[in-house]
């Protein structure tokens, strides 16, 4: 029962889970099936909740538990359900059409991870002692953020862009949790509400785009240009 009270172990646990978050992110870049992508996102969000939970446990910050619970409830359960129902409704299951092909995309993701480590390194101050927890986790958070952004650019369909935006938000959440051990609760709640509204609005928007253009391809939106 010593492990449950050893902050060093907690640090390693968080780093391990953060690594899995990154792995899942890169898996999403490579995965072509839409439903599979949504499930990968659910898994990633669940891990994120777990990370928040462990930080809360090992640093004795009970208010982060609320954030962790909200993350799991919203991002790992509610949002995936909404998205899968949307997929059923618009009847597209496995056509993620990236602009760049899969091998190249994964190479770029690797490159972005390198950039993220470069950036994360500059925030790493080992002399600061206990606050150095952020080192690996911050780099992972930045790479999740950058890869999420890259996914948004790389995909044509509106729904997959929504998904990419959500993973990008996961990256921001991870960065916020590991750097500050949780933002003020009111900010967290605001962010969650934001995500929920964004998903609902974007879901409707995706549906309307599909109705109007007979496709989810956002490149067709060029026609709206004056």
């Amino acid at each position: 029962m010593d492990l449950l009270h050893n902050p060093e172990f907690g640090d390693k646990l968080v780093t391990l889970m953060a690594a899995f978050v990154l792995v899942l992110q890169i898996a999403m870049v490579g995965q072509r099936s839409l439903v599979m992508n949504i499930r990968l996102f659910a898994a990633q969000s669940f891990l994120l909740g777990a990370i928040a939970g462990s930080i809360a446990w090992y640093n004795h910050a009970p208010h982060i538990f609320i954030a962790a619970g909200m993350t799991i409830l919203l991002k790992a359960i509610l949002v995936p359900i909404v998205l899968e129902r949307l997929v059923d409704r618009i009847d597209i299951h496995h056509e993620i059409a990236p602009i760049l092909n899969t091998p190249l995309s994964i190479m770029i993701s690797g490159g972005l991870t390198l950039v993220a480590y470069l950036v994360g390194e500059s925030f790493y101050h080992p002399e600061a002692g206990a606050a150095s927890l952020g080192h690996n986790t911050l780099a992972v958070a930045i790479s999740v953020f950058l890869i999420g952004f890259f996914m948004m650019i790389n995909r044509r369909k509106a729904l997959t862009q929504v998904l990419a935006l959500l993973t990008l938000e996961n990256g921001i959440f991870l960065a916020a949790t590991c750097l500050t051990y949780g933002m003020p609760l009111i900010v967290e709640l605001g962010v969650f509400f934001d995500v929920l509204v964004a998903v609902l609005v974007l879901g409707i928007l995706v549906y309307r785009i599909r109705e109007s253009f007979e496709s989810m391809d956002v490149s067709k939106l060029r026609r709206l240009r004056g």
Binding site: V119, S122, F149, F150, V218, S219, L221, R222, L224
Partner: protein
């Protein structure tokens, strides 16, 4: 303190109530009109009391408005200068609100008076706050609200293409000016470490020389746009005429004076002694604005556009006073600086009063004849005698003729310029007489212009059916105009008793009290305050006028009653009767000036005659003449074309593809991240 605070805040609340009344009255025009302008009138009277209390007490009063927005302080700072401008605002707002009761009755049912009233109250509220704001942030917020409210009022008759264009031009130029002000305030805030105006006192003079220059130019251009200084004036003759006339009166009377207030604040409070070239620049800009304003005004036949150009002229006269004051201050003549500053500030109040009076008069004429074109008026003095008398009072005042108020402030400006010639050295010495001569030319041309404006509009026979059926304005409109006309007379005759008002202002800005030196003969005459300066008495001139008019009355009493009165037709060269077609036209009247200054105007004329048998018997002649809008054509058009070309090039970036936009953001983000790491 409690009195001042209560009246000031009460005025603001009254304006807010007026705004609410406007919104509530969107559907009931009659109640909206009474509610809106009733509230505005109450607010204006309370603000007048607050301003008078503040001026009487002197010193600085500050407090915070409890707006409940954290991080920002909504500091009100009432000192002599801001109280003076708030007094001007209150006087105008009261007169214009009374006038509006009658003026807008015609619009009931046709237009949404609620919207107008709502913007009207917001404008008054924001103007009050502009003059009373105690920190730069609050000032800019009020400044922007003022610009937006004014835009809403200018664009009120938005179904006309011309109105929309004028409103847009005003908005664009106003925002460009605000941008410059923002930069300038931020530079000062960095130097003083705070946004409070109290900490800005003399802080600009502590900056390095080149920064002083930059700050000065930014402020001058930023406030100059609002004031309508040539060549930043092009929005003014477009925007002022298209607004309803009560709004034009406020725009010309007080909105452009916010620029003057800003300049007074910057040049005399934020700067200790501005660089020498700055004063010369302001003086030159003033002379240029005055001369070009009146020259363009002479060519206008649209009564309200003519008045708008005169606003540019008068802003120029005010700036001549300011520029002279700046030069004197830099050269170390505080008394002279105070005299010149008083001349500028006095002219600010005077211009506010007579220009609003003239705009209200033009509004009454438009209200009654439905036209703004002077060539379609004529003969109105018989049909609208009170309006004609009020307009004539305003015309005499703006022409700078004694004994009205315009004369006093222009006379003081001359005296300051003449004293400047006597007490300065070298190059600056030459500037003063040149400026004085050009100011004299301006005043003469202004008089000519108002002979035209009054003569063509009000005298002789009506030139159109509308003018023939004109009727006198309703009582409330006459009251509004009469109040301002009385103000012109009071500020002219009572000038010496009004001058002590300036003591706290000059003491605050320059550190000199001069009103007692300016008063001579127990207050019945004004002196210029220096050894060999002139002295003039408006009361004396008025008394002289009354006495001289007794002479013809005497002769009439002695011989007139015995004489025989014969009434006959005017000699008409044998033509069959004189009609309005035989009258002198505005175009004809201004022809000599158009010829003398043809290098500036580049006049264009076109005559087309149609005939059937012989060119000596034309069936129809079409004549067209116009002048070239030099500033628009030579300065603004090239700039606009350049802007459009640049925008065309930027267009390829806006591809309309979401992926491209995302990629822009992504690349920018990566670049910033890597840049951050490199640091």
């Amino acid at each position: 303190m409690p009195w001042l605070n209560a009246c000031f805040t009460g005025g603001l609340i009254a304006y807010l109530a007026g705004t609410a009344a406007g919104i509530a009255g969107f559907r009931v025009p009659r109640r909206a009109r009474i509610g809106v302008f009733g509230c505005a009138l109450a607010g204006a009277l309370l603000e007048i009391i607050a301003a008078v209390v503040a001026l009487a007490r002197g010193g600085v009063t500050t407090w915070n408005l409890p707006f409940g927005v954290p991080l920002f302080s909504w500091a009100i700072r009432v000192n002599a200068l801001s109280a003076y401008f708030n007094l001007t605002l209150g006087i105008l707002a009261a007169a214009v609100s009374v006038y509006s009761f009658g003026y807008l009755r015609q619009m009931e049912g046709r237009r949404n008076i609620g919207v107008l009233g709502c913007f009207y109250n917001i404008l008054l509220l924001s103007l009050t706050l502009v003059f009373a704001a105690g920190n730069a942030f609050f000032f800019l917020v009020a400044w922007e609200i003022m610009a937006l409210a004014a835009w809403g009022l200018v664009s009120f008759e938005h179904e006309k293409e011309r109105t929309r264009r004028a409103g847009m031009l005003f908005l664009i130029m106003s925002h460009a000016g605000s941008g410059l002000l923002l930069i300038a305030f931020l530079i000062l805030a960095r130097a003083s470490g705070s946004l409070d105006f109290a900490t800005f006192h003399h802080v600009a003079s502590a900056l390095p020389a080149w920064q002083q220059g930059v700050v000065f130019l930014l402020f001058f251009l930023g406030f100059g746009v609002k004031a309508g200084v040539v060549p930043l004036h092009v929005w003014l003759p477009e925007a002022h005429p298209v607004a309803p006339s009560n709004i034009s009166a406020l725009m010309s009377g007080i909105v452009i004076k916010t620029g003057i207030y800003g300049m007074a604040l910057v040049f005399f409070d934020f700067f200790d002694a501005p660089p020498a070239w700055a004063g010369i620049l302001v003086l030159s800009a003033g002379v240029l604005s005055a001369l070009l304003g009146v020259l363009y005004a002479l060519m206008e036949h649209d009564l309200k556009r003519l008045l708008a150009y005169h606003s540019i002229e008068n802003i120029g006269i005010i700036l001549i006073g300011f520029g002279a004051a700046m030069i004197f201050r830099t050269l170390g003549h505080p008394t002279l600086a105070a005299v010149a500053l008083i001349a500028g500030l006095y002219h600010t109040l005077n211009h506010a009063i007579f220009k609003s009076l003239l705009f209200l008069g033009a509004g009454a004429v438009h209200h009654s004849t439905g036209t703004r074109n002077m060539e379609e008026m004529g003969g109105l003095i018989r049909r609208m005698p009170v309006t004609a008398l009020c307009f004539l009072t305003g015309a005499i005042a703006i022409s700078g003729l004694p004994p009205l108020n315009g004369f006093v402030s222009e006379w003081l400006t001359y005296q300051a310029l003449l004293a400047g010639f006597g007490s300065t050295q070298s190059l600056t010495r030459v500037i003063f007489p040149i400026a004085g001569a050009l100011l004299a030319l301006t005043a003469a041309l202004a008089a000519a212009c108002f002979v035209k404006a009054f003569g063509i509009s009000f005298l002789a026979l009506p030139r159109s059916e509308n003018a023939a059926q004109a009727h006198e304005a309703p009582l409330s409109m006459r009251l509004g105009m009469g109040f301002l006309a009385a103000g012109c007379l009071a500020l002219g005759l009572g000038a010496t008793w009004f001058l002590p008002v300036f003591d706290p202002i000059t003491e605050q800005l320059i550190g000199a009290r001069v009103s007692s030196a300016l008063t001579a003969a127990n207050g019945f005459a004004i002196s210029a305050g220096t050894a060999h300066a002139g002295t003039v008495s408006t009361v004396g001139i008025a008394a002289m006028l009354v006495l001289l008019s007794a002479i013809p009355a005497f002769f009439w009493l002695v011989w007139g009653r015995a004489g025989r009165r014969a009434t006959g037709p005017t000699w008409d060269c044998g033509l069959p009767g004189l009609t309005a077609d035989n009258e002198y036209t505005a175009t004809g009247f201004s022809k000599p000036i158009r010829m003398i200054f043809s290098a500036l105007y580049r006049p264009r004329r076109e005559i087309q005659a149609e005939y059937e048998v012989s060119p000596y018997y034309p069936t129809a002649i079409r004549f067209e003449s116009g002048i070239e809008p030099s500033f628009e054509k030579r300065m603004y058009d090239p700039f606009r074309n350049w802007l459009y070309r640049m925008a065309g090039r930027m267009r390829s970036v806006q591809a309309g593809s979401i992926h491209a936009y995302l990629a822009y953001i992504f690349v920018a983000l990566l670049a910033l991240l890597l840049f951050g790491v490199r640091r």
